[in-house]
């Protein structure tokens, strides 16, 4: 492997790994715009109408 090969590999792999790690850290650290609690989800799997008193029904 030539020195130019080493540089190409380290720059390429280093860039994508650095970007990925930075993005993951940002996702975990920064306050998200909106997160949903599990009780707030309607997956649409059920055909019946949601209970009107539940959080889902109030949406």
């Amino acid at each position: 492997m030539t020195w130019a090969g080493w540089i190409t590999m380290l720059l390429s792999v280093g860039f994508v790994t650095g970007l990925f790690v930075w993005c993951i850290v940002q996702v975990l650290v920064r306050k998200p715009g909106h997160l949903h609690g599990l009780e707030d989800i309607d997956t649409g799997d059920l055909d019946e109408e949601p209970d009107s008193e539940s959080p889902r029904g109030q949406r």
Binding site: M1, T2, A4, G5, W6, T8, M9, L11, S12, V13, F15, V16, T17, L19, F20, W22, C23, I24, Q26, V27, R30, K31, P32, G33, H34, L35, H36, L38, I41, D42, T43, G44, D45, D47, P50, R59
Partner: protein, 549 residues
């Protein structure tokens, strides 16, 4: 506008990022990318690759996330519905049909390849993939397994192992998709993606610690394998600058970025439509992109080609396509390793996981359309989509000689239509919605700001670059120069359809594509009437409320 549907949504930002990344990470990351980088000389190729990532991949990705969320806020989650909102013209919803056709028809052959991966993982685990020392034996095994020697082979007695694995993965996909966005796709991708990365790291560690495994060929060592993959100067001595002057290199790099990130598939726009207005799209889009790049460059770039080089040398790699490298060369490579059954099974299960997370994403746009456009409930929509994709899948399985149906679908749907949809998307964002308005939309709830220099990139550079790449792609793949006569003539895929060399299987495949397009256009017309009616009713209700107040 609402069409009276129950609304699905993601449960967490990590979940949606994993799902989009899972959609993007597929076989191309681990098989196609390393082959291209080695073929074109990595230094020049990586330069063109990262330029394409910057001015093509990331901007289209942000545009697709933003447009999807924008339309989702207006009550639409299917591609025809999304384009019904974005392009305020009756024809808009028909353009959106491409966003359903592409993922649904790609699923018809992709799930078959997924079944090969699971089959190979099982064969590796049970020791049935130890076929000797010659690539030809592995090629023959693969051809028999997938039925590449004769149409209908895998549907016959004694040759239908692939069909069994296909039934298994087909059922698995529909089981997961039936559970819905949150409990199905998101739940699977949240453990599937980390598991995939973990398996890749295990295989990577094994490959990088092999040293020089063949005492008869001490020159075939890990460093030489990495050098073959990453040295900028090709083995024939062509310089980096000379390589960069080759338009085919730019086409290959842009094509790899384009298809690897799943932009223009109709998947990201559908997934993003389930976000809420305050949900971030800028960091989420960038994170999903970076996860794909990490798997492609950081893992795929260090495993596949170096491993093949260690045992077979350069001669064993040159000229092998994606399937050749994945299903003929690599089984032989893993059979040489200590604990061959373990690492072979880990590798093919890794490919299987990558394929499942992608194929799941291909079903959601179709489901969203059937639910939203026709008012079907999930069970009905899953049944109808299962029937349609099942018929298409059997079509691909039957016309298996030289994988003609698969190859034809991949070219006209998996390449041509994707270019068309991506071009429509970026033009809609930059010119239809307008770059300033699109910018404001993108930054709603955003935790990062997109640098301003991306504005001219999205409005001018990206469409021009995309159309140039598209023109080159047509030039090299649809019409090519005949080396004997020097004249421009239709290339292989066009010759398959017309003239003396036409292939009946290819003609039938294109007829099948046209039939599916017409079928979805008819459904879209019905959906359009439903949406128009809902819009009128909503308007009347609003006017009545205003009169009362």
């Amino acid at each position: 506008m609402s069409v009276g549907l129950t609304r699905e949504t993601w449960t967490s930002r990590v979940g949606v990022i994993m799902a989009v990344a899972g959609s993007a990470v597929g076989l191309g990351n681990f098989l196609r990318f390393p082959g291209l980088a080695a073929q074109y000389g990595s230094g020049a190729f990586m330069l063109a690759y990262f330029i394409s990532l910057l001015i093509l991949g990331i901007p289209i990705c942000w545009a697709e996330w933003t447009l999807g969320r924008y339309a989702g806020q207006r009550g639409f989650h299917s591609s025809p519905g999304i384009f019904y909102v974005l392009i305020r013209h009756p024809l808009g919803k028909y353009i959106g049909v491409i966003g359903v056709i592409v993922p649904v028809m790609i699923y018809m052959y992709y799930v078959y390849i997924e079944a090969w991966c699971l089959g190979y993982a099982w064969y590796a685990l049970t020791g049935r993939l130890q076929l000797g020392e010659r690539v030809a034996d592995y090629a023959e095994f693969w051809a028999r397994f997938v039925g590449a020697t004769q149409d209908g082979l895998t549907l016959g007695r004694g040759h239908n192992q692939a069909l069994g694995f296909l039934a298994l993965v087909f059922g698995l996909n529909f089981f997961i998709i039936y559970r819905g966005i949150a409990r199905g796709i998101e739940a699977f991708c949240k453990w599937g993606m980390p598991a995939l990365i973990l398996l890749a790291l295990v295989v990577l560690a094994r490959v990088l610690t092999l040293g020089a495994p063949d005492p008869a060929h001490p020159e075939r060592n890990v460093l030489a394998g990495l050098g073959y993959m990453w040295n900028p100067t090709r083995e024939d001595g062509t310089s980096v600058l000379a390589q960069l002057a080759n338009p085919q290199l730019w086409l290959a790099a842009a094509g790899q970025i384009f298809f690897s990130l799943s932009v223009g598939f109709g998947v990201i726009i559908t997934y993003a439509s389930y976000l809420r207005e305050e949900d971030d799209v800028v960091l989420s889009g960038l994170t999903a992109t970076s996860a794909n790049e990490f798997c492609e460059v950081g893992l795929g770039g260090l495993i596949t080609v170096p491993a093949a080089y260690l045992f077979l040398g350069a001669a064993g790699i040159v000229g092998q396509g994606t399937f050749g490298l994945g299903f003929k060369v690599l089984p032989l490579v893993f059979s040489h390793m200590p604990l061959a059954w373990l690492f072979g099974a880990a590798w093919f299960f890794l490919l299987f996981l990558a394929a499942v997370t992608s194929s799941l994403s291909m079903l959601q746009p179709g489901l969203a359309f059937l639910e939203e456009g026709l008012g079907l409930n999930r069970k009905q929509a899953v049944s109808l989509l299962g029937l349609l994709t099942g018929v298409g899948c059997l079509f691909v399985v039957y016309f298996s000689k030289d994988l003609k149906a698969l190859d034809t679908l991949d070219f006209w749907v998996g390449t041509f239509l994707i270019f068309v949809l991506a071009t429509v998307l970026i033009l809609t964002f930059g010119w239809g919605l307008g770059v300033e308005r699109g910018w404001r939309e993108a930054h709603k709830g955003a935790v990062l700001r997109i640098p301003n220099f991306f504005k001219p990139i999205i409005k001018y550079v990206c469409p021009v670059y995309l159309l140039t790449i598209f023109a080159f792609w047509i030039r090299f793949n649809v019409f090519a120069r005949n080396p004997e006569t020097g004249r421009i003539e239709p290339a292989g895929y066009v010759k398959d359809l017309v003239g003396a060399q036409a292939s009946p299987a290819a003609q039938l495949t294109v007829a099948f594509i046209v039939l599916c397009v017409l079928f979805f256009c008819v459904l879209t017309a019905a959906a359009g009437r439903r949406w128009d009616r809902a819009a009128r009713e909503e308007q009347e209700t609003r006017e009545a409320q205003e009169v009362r107040s």
